[in-house]
């Protein structure tokens, strides 16, 4: 089964939670942001994890609603909540995450009332980005345990019917069911993705730093 039994597959390193430009919070000042984190959880690390999860949920929901500007609206929602935290933190009762959902609904309704703007067609990643992705993939594959790497290599090998047959063979060899094998492979894939994201962010930061220098 696809159910992950509540497993957390994305572990966000503390150093990443620094309000980088990647988070795209445009007009939020540091005081509001710190207040938001404290409202979410007194522990800053846990608050950071919670913040990332809320943002991811907002984007997922907006995307599922067919909103092309899902990331922008999610950031706008967080922006508005951050500004309101000072007023509501003493009186609000319940899961703070649900407050984001309500604000997001308002933001989305307002967005739908705006005149439509032409949507930019997503372009394919350029050669440089592709090279970076492959470089980061190699780097992150090397960081996997031999067992995990072997699993991911075989899981993504072959195509079509051969892929199905191979996955059956791997599951038989490991003595697990096909769904259990899928879960294991996807967890490794999740870690790999997180590693690659971190690697790519490093490339971006380095490029920005070089550009600034």
């Amino acid at each position: 089964m696809c159910g992950a039994q509540g497993a957390m597959i994305q572990v966000i390193p503390p150093q990443r939670f620094q309000m980088t430009t990647a988070r795209k919070l445009r007009e939020l000042d540091q005081d509001d942001f710190d207040r938001l984190l404290r409202w979410l959880d007194p522990n800053r690390e846990r608050a950071g994890v919670l913040y990332e999860k809320i943002r991811w949920r907002l984007i997922a929901i907006l995307a599922a609603r067919g909103c092309a500007a899902a990331e922008e609206l999610a950031d706008e929602t967080i922006d508005r909540v951050s500004r309101r935290v000072a007023d509501i933190q003493d009186t609000y009762v319940g899961d703070p995450a649900l407050y984001f959902l309500g604000v997001m609904n308002n933001v989305h309704h307002e967005f739908l009332k705006r005149p439509t703007t032409p949507r930019l067609v997503p372009t394919a990643p350029d050669t440089n980005t592709n090279e970076q992705i492959h470089t980061c993939l190699d780097r992150c594959l090397d960081r996997l345990t031999p067992h995990a790497r072997d699993l991911i290599e075989r899981y993504y090998a072959e195509d079509k019917q051969a892929k199905i047959n191979l996955r059956r063979t791997i599951a038989r060899q490991l003595g697990v069911s096909a769904s259990n094998l899928r879960l294991r492979a996807l967890r490794v894939r999740g870690k790999l993705q997180e590693c690659i994201n971190h690697c790519l962010d490093g490339h971006v930061n380095e490029r920005d730093r070089k550009a600034t220098a």
Partner: protein, 283 residues
């Protein structure tokens, strides 16, 4: 139902539908609420994102889902990265599909065979049309011979094993006399040999049968010749047989006799070659 409301568990299909934006409004609202409060559901959605990215990169989605994934899934930087890594993994570990050169001769999807089949169908169509047109033309040509052979009278089929002498009394029907189709015949008796008294035939039609009483009965054959009064030959019969030597019968088509005076000569074909001449008139 794609979800169980009591336990608030969504199926894998429901999670996929959420990512592709295919849930109904009610299901979408319920899913959103659960996504904000249920960590397990969130983890499943994250895994489903990876699977969807892999399927999209591997082109394992249907056309409709492919379009939905483009419109509603790849809308954030994180998901685009997810998709890029799926592509990279696929290129790294999955066999690159190279266009295989098929050596099979009968590959029906090859353009060459498509054109060949199209040409063959065209030829067949033209040949059929030409043949049908030609057959119609032949069918309407009148027969070369303007008359048809008269149908031969067919005898009634007789069963081979039919007994020769039936036990039942034989019933014989007298054949009805068919209407006579013989041309109308006029009888003319020729008795006098002179031109003073001679019989006259008024508008004869069909045939004229001359019954001749010979003045000197003589057995044997005769030759008959009919002339106009100006000795123009009109009709002749080479051989006439006298039944008893005293009478002759000569049948002449009425059409050869126009109104006027005629004489008919009967010559005995014996040694003496005696002649008898009679006169008649046609009015």
């Amino acid at each position: 139902m794609i979800s169980n409301r009591d336990t608030h568990e969504f199926s894998d299909e429901a999670v996929r539908c959420f990512l592709l934006g295919r849930l109904t409004a009610a299901e979408q609202t319920q899913f959103e609420q659960q996504l904000f409060t249920n960590s397990e559901l969130e983890a499943r959605v994250r895994l489903a994102e990876i699977v969807l990215a892999d399927d999209y990169a591997g082109r394992r989605l249907g056309r409709a889902d492919q379009a939905l994934a483009r419109e509603r899934f790849l809308v954030s930087g994180d998901r685009e990265r997810l998709y890029s890594v799926s592509q990279a993994l696929r290129h790294r570990f999955a066999p690159v599909p190279t266009p295989k050169r098929s050596f099979k001769v009968f590959r029906l999807d090859a353009p060459m065979w498509r054109y060949a089949f199209a040409a063959m169908l065209l030829l067949l169509t033209f040949a059929t049309v030409w043949r049908v047109t030609k057959e119609r033309r032949v069918a309407f040509i009148p027969p070369a011979v303007p008359f048809k052979p008269k149908p031969a009278p067919t005898s009634t089929p007789v069963e081979a094993h039919h007994p020769d002498k039936p036990s039942a009394p034989e019933h014989q029907e007298a054949p009805a006399n068919p209407p006579s189709h013989e041309p109308e015949r006029t009888t003319c008796v020729l008795e006098t040999k002179n031109t003073v008294e001679h019989p006259a035939l008024v508008k004869p039609s069909g045939a004229i049968q001359f019954q001749v009483s010979l003045p000197e009965p003589r057995a044997g054959a005769y030759r008959a010749d009919i002339f106009t009064i100006a000795f123009q030959p009109v009709f002749s019969v080479d051989l006439l047989e006298s039944t008893d030597g005293s009478k002759l019968e000569l049948t002449v088509p009425a059409g050869v006799l126009k109104p006027g005076d005629y004489k008919v000569k009967f010559m005995h074909l014996g040694k003496d070659a005696s002649e008898v001449v009679y006169y008649f008139r046609v009015e």
